[in-house]
Symmetry: C2
Subunit: 126 residues, 2 copies
DNA sequence: GACCGACATGGACGCCCGTCGATGCGTGCG
DNA sequence: CGCACGCATCGACGGGCGTCCATGTCGGTC
């Protein structure tokens, strides 16, 4: 279904919520954030990111991770690919091994979102 | 596939990483975090949570959200159910409407995870 | 140059998820 | 009491994701 009014004032007025406003986060920003959350929505990737962050300089090679995580090498490669696509890590080749590094910028965007006040001032309806 | 050694020291020793340790986050904790991230891994739910947080007291009724989000009422109910299952929101019935409230505790756990140092001290291999 | 090891890619399978329409349930109103 | 309304649930459909095996690709080594 297509996107409906986010700034429309009229359809939000009725007997239930006379003065309510439907201010929502822009769709594009919500999709970007959801993409990062999707990249984190797997136990293996949660452990991977924490493992890299706990390494010196946020960098480590992935050579032994399949055995440690209990997954095969293609599956690990798939997870690292998803983390890379989300901008959470980056990898550079050093000889025959690839080292992966945490990119804190993407994490900062997520942190900024999660710092929502949980006690806003907008008066809602009903 | 079943979980393999996380504290095992032996299989992680070879010519590549002589002294490397494979310390990983416990599997259960990673699954719990991943469940919360799964609950956030959708644009509609990202907007929903931000909408609730921007409301007075972190509470709002959901009566007009289907139209604002461009989804049907069953779909909105499905998303709110997932947010509730993840402990991110809770809903109580007031008359014929249901009000949803943000529960900051679940967000705190996620924030604590995302505060990973990105410059750890553990020396990794290769 | 031929082999080997680390990693990426492709294809296949099963499962979960987002979305919908239709329906059921509970509450307030007339 | 019956109707209308807000919300939850059910069943179905399509798409995406995690996982694997098999294979390809690139860099080092001998």
């Amino acid at each position: 279904m297509t996107e409906l009014a986010t700034t429309h004032a009229h359809p939000l007025e009725d007997d239930c919520c006379p003065g309510a406003q439907g201010r929502l986060m822009p769709r594009e920003r919500a999709e970007d954030l959801a993409d990062v959350f999707k990249a984190l929505a797997d136990p293996a990737r949660v452990r991977l990111l924490e493992y890299l962050a706990a390494s010196r300089g946020g960098t480590a090679c992935a050579c032994h991770l399949p055995a440690a995580l209990g997954i095969t090498q293609p599956t690990l490669s798939h997870h690292l690919r998803r983390l890379r696509a989300a901008g959470l890590v980056e990898g550079d080749r050093r000889g025959r091994w690839v080292h992966y590094t945490v990119r804190p910028e993407a994490l900062d965007r997520v942190r900024a979102y999660l710092d929502l006040p949980t006690d806003g001032a907008e008066d809602r309806c009903c």
